[in-house]
Structure formats: C-alpha cells, structure tokens
Subunit: 199 residues, 4 copies
C-alpha cells in the first residue's frame, strides 16, 4: 500500500467518511501548501500532549490545568450535576447558554443491540456522586430515543442502589414539541408528553 | 384543452402535486377499471352531500347528524377545549389517544408573510368560549414554529380582551425534546425548554 | 367506512400516494368549491367516454377519432417505429422534439422478479411489424436498467423468430454520459459506453 | 485558539466538512490510540516527501520514480491521450478498466462564473501534444455539464490554432442514456443524444 492509499484508508476510519471522500481529502492535502500540512501535523501532535481529559467531568479540553475550566469555575452551581452521553452533547448544552451547573460525560449510551455498557463510566459516576455532598440534583440529559431511555433507567437503578441519599433529586430533560414540530406529523408519545407538560 | 389535459390540470391543483405526478394520476385512471372510476366519482359526489362541517368544532365529518361524534359524545370532558389549526392536527391528536376533551378547528395559523388572519375563525371561537360556561381550560395546540407562536399570542390577546372570566385557564402544549431528538443537534430554544420542563 | 374514509382509501390507490397525502387530498376537496368538485367529476367521467386507446400505437388520447394524431399524421416518417414502455415515455420523446417517426406503446417492461411479460403487447407488436411493409427501422427505447435491457433482448429474439425480413434494422438508444453526469461518479458500464461511442 | 479549536478549524477547510463534522473528527482522534494518531501524522508527512506529481500526466502518485506507472508502462497505447479534469476522474476511468491509452490531468474545468482558466494546464497540454508525434487521438473526457462543454470547446480551439497536424483526431465521450436513466425523466438533450447515437 503506497502513501496515498495508506492515508486514504486512515481517513476512511474517520466517522462518516467513505472511500470517495477519503480520497478527496488526500487530493486536497496534495494540493495544499506545505505549511497547511505542517499545521495539521502539529495540531494532531499537540492533541496527545496539550489536550487532557478532565478528571472530574471526563471531557477533553486544552486548558493548562488537568481539571477543566467548567469544573474549576466559581460561577457554576455545584448543587447540579448533568449527565451527558458525549462531549458533543456537552458542547450543545453550553452553546444554549441555559445551564449553569456541572457536567459528567458518561462516554455513550447503552447499546440496545448487545446491552453493552462496558465503556460507560458508571462506576466513576457513582463514586463522584457519593463524594459530592453538596449535590442536590442529578439531571439525566440523554437523547430522546430508546438507547437514551435505557441509559437513564439503568442510571436511576444504580443510583438508588448505591447512592443512599434521600435528598438527591434525579430529573430527566422534559419532552414535548421541539422547535419546528408540527402536530400532524408528531408521534403519539410526543403528543402525550406535550399535552402532559402543557402550561 | 382535451380531457386528458383538463384532468391533469385539475390534479395539478391538488396539494403537493406537480405536472408529472398529475399526468401519472390520469394514466392510472385510464388503466383503472370503469368501476374504480365510478367509485371515485361517487365518493367525490358524496363529499358535497354526505359530509358536513360540524357547527361546534368546525371539522368536516361524515356522520348522520350535522354535529360531529366528538362534540356530541358524553365521554368527552366539556371543561376542556383544544384549539387546533386544522382537521389533520385534530386527527393526529385523536390518534394519540391522550386527549379526552373537545376541539375547535381554527382553520389555519397566522401567516407571518402578510399577517393575514382573515380566514381564521377567531370571532366564532370567542363566541363559543363566551357561551360555554362549563369551560375551565383552553389548550392552544399549534405547531412549534413562528406562525404557531404568533397565532397563540393573538388568541391569548383576543381572549383576555373579550372573554372576561378569571377562572378560565389558557395553556399551550409543552415544549422539549421530541421523540428521536439528539442533544447534539437540538436548537438552543429546545434545550432551554427541555431543561426548564425537566422532571 | 364513511365517505371521507372511502375517498381517502381510493386516493391511497393512486401511484405514490400514502395515507397522509390521501387524507390531505380529501381535505383539499372538502374546502374546494362545489364547481371544482363538479369539474373533477366530469373530467373523470369523460375519461371513460371521450378518451380512446389508439388501435395503432396503443396510447391513450382524447382525439375525435379512435386513431391518434401521431399515427394519422402525414408528417411522421412511416419507415421508423419506436417501441416505448409507457405513454409517459412517449410523451418525453415528443417533448424532446427529436423523433419524427411512429410509436408503439408496449405497456411496460419485463419484470425481473417474476419474468412476467403477460401484460406486454408483444403479439400485437409482432403482427404490426409484419403488416407494415414500409418499415425500415425499429428503435427499442427502453429505460437503461436491467428490466429495460431484458425487454429489449426479448423483443430482438421474438422479432428474429417471427419477422422474416432481412432489411429491417433493429436499434437501441445510445448509452453514454447523460446531461449532468460527472466522470468521478459514473459507473464502469456508463464509462465504457461513453468511451465506445466517443466521436 | 486552543489545540482543539485549531484542529477543528483545520478540518473545516477539508472539502465538504462543516464545523460539526470537524468537531467530530477531533473527538474521534482524541479517543483514538496514540499509534493511530502517529500513523496519520506520518502519512501526512510522507505526502510531501514520497508523493510526486508525474511530469507527464500531472497526476499525483506515490511511485518510486517521478514519472508515474501509467506513463511509463509499455502496455498503454501511446497513440491515445485522454484529457481529464482531475485525478479523481482519472481514477474512475482506471476503475472502469476500459481505456488503455495515456492521460493528461488538466487541473479542473473552466469556471462559467468568471471564465477563469488560469489554473488549467493548457500551455503544458499544447506543448505535450506538439512533442508527441505518435499521437493519433486526443479524447476529451470532461463532465457532461456546461463547464465541461466549455472546457472541451476551448481546448478544441486552442489545438486547432497551435497544433498543426491534420492527422490528429479529437474526440469527446459519447452522450446518451447513462445506467439507470429512465426516458420519462430524461432531459431533451440526453434523449436527442441517445437517439442520434442509437445502434
């Protein structure tokens, strides 16, 4: 396998990239300036050295310290912990500018195909909750699909078994019509939720 | 214009139908049996004679009586009135099986392009609400888009001006994550609503 | 089943129409004027009386005579006969304004799922070709897909068996890049044809 | 801008990649093994050192020699030269396995927006053709769109002005129905070409 083929096959491993677009990436880099290629190489190198995984919320970040800027901030409410599946979900929440507590990145949702939860950071989460005495509410913020629901159900079970604290509220994000929803095309479950949470 | 062209141009007026599909409809009818065409003709004829618009909720129905089966039913809660934009929205609500009150079909939403509300049955709605003393809650069930929001805002205004009854609750369907929503792709407004209505 | 449901289920039989759009058609007709509904009824009625199938080319048309305007025209070259699958294909050819011979509508293509050709007018076609002594070329104009290719192969076989005329040319439409094709996305077969028919 | 943001913005420059997918690439690399990242870095580094642009056909390749394996091969017919817009088009031709002559990569097509052809290797092409006495046919293999047609027209003009050789044939790829085309949806230009190139 020559250099072009090897780089193509590496890009094919990128999420959502097939052989055609992988080939186009290689052509793009071939036509790019040497300085663009050098920048790319340096940025990938620095991922290994300058990027840390925050030991509190488990998200990846490029701050100077190991602990991330959200977890270290005085302005975030320490009584709230929101559990999200991925860094991308955490970023969406931050973009919305509506949540001011802390986070924990679980690392995925339960796969319904094989019930696997091996890669999810459930033990770390339970330990974290046990140690945070100031915690008042855990918000389960998973996608509104069967995998997200199964993950929320599992976490509730685990928390009721291992976290013995009656004052801790466990909530899930509200369901209803999302922006752009039309009633005519809404599924019965969404209509039911929208009706129950009318206000 | 010959018969084929005339029928094609009639089908082109159907919602969502372009010249190509209109032509395909005509070909389909040409190849259909005479009895299929006769059935179609009879069904369209009966629309004018056997279908009524319910004088209460304004939806079209094919019941024996002018008043429809929902409005006449003893099992529907007369203390609830849900305002929907269209018959199709009403049907979606009925399919969900979660609402057991009465309806009123407004006949559309306010167009933001021209602010037109001429075809909406606002005066009839206000008269209906005034006359129904048993009414406790009006549920505004419009699509989660700017037109739906503008329509809800308008109705709230009109009701506060013309309906002088402090005990009447006016609610709107809840917003949040709808079935299938992923946080990563959710808009800030939906995330904000989902967070506020967590439970 | 009431009138609304019966008309909905009739529209569901229309090509490409599901229950939702069928329901929308009924709502559209309910809101239409009585004169629009009457026009529709009359046009469907006239399909049965005013539209004939041309006994020569087998297409449907609304001319005064049984034989259609193309088959009767003095300006069409009687030495060419183009075989098409459907009336819609014939119309596409006419729109292109590039063909000036006669047509024959076969009534479909061979289904590869079940090898069925029962509804195709192959015997009529063979009889027609046998009787037209002035014919010099038969153009097989089928879609560029496996069904179209199988139909062309079948017709060639049948013609070589039953039509004993060495002077009759049988041709198929040329293959190559169609408008908008990009080489990068073209399949090998199309590239091969484009290369062979370069000029 | 921190490392994550810088790498995201570099991936955003990749063809067809928006901010969201760029972010996903970074997350993917963060979760990848250090050895996967090292492989990627090495492959990008080798693009600059181990990949050459063939001085004959101008395509990028990773062969040992500067001249590429196609241009150097004894099995390719030196009497044919096919002009393609890009490396990707050349690869599609090679995959089809139907062409056995030589290539020249022009580097794009004429932009109809600004008539720019500055980056196209037209002078090099003319010089190459002048020097190759064994050449019998130049095949213009551009996409079947207005840009491709304009590029072919320009090259024909330039060649007739600068290449004074009456024996040199200039051809373009054949047009017609491409695989999967249905007559009903074919544009008039494609139908016309398919009819003219029938066989």
């Amino acid at each position: 396998m020559d250099t072009i083929e090897r780089l193509t096959s590496l890009f094919e491993r990128f999420p959502g990239i097939g052989p055609r677009q992988a080939g186009r990436f290689v052509q793009f880099l071939l036509r790019s300036s040497p300085s663009m290629r050098r920048e790319l190489i340096e940025a990938v190198q620095r991922l290994g050295s300058a990027v840390h995984q925050c030991p509190e919320c488990m998200r990846f970040h490029a701050g100077e310290e190991k602990i991330c800027s959200i977890c270290v901030s005085d302005e975030r409410g320490k009584e709230f912990l929101m559990i999200v599946a991925s860094d991308a979900d955490l970023q969406a929440l931050e973009r919305s500018g509506t949540y001011h507590g802390l986070y924990f990145v679980l690392g995925g949702t339960i796969s319904l195909a094989n019930e696997k939860s091996a890669n999810l950071r459930i033990p770390q989460l339970l330990a974290l909750i046990s140690s945070r005495k100031e915690l008042e509410e855990v918000v389960l913020a998973f996608p509104a699909n069967p995998e997200g629901d199964a993950t929320a159900a599992r976490l509730k079970n685990e928390m009721s078994d291992f976290v013995n604290r009656s004052s801790l509220r466990i909530t899930t994000l509200g369901r209803g019509l999302s922006t752009g929803s039309e009633l005519e095309y809404a599924d019965p479950e969404t209509i039911k939720n929208a009706l129950e949470s009318r206000k």
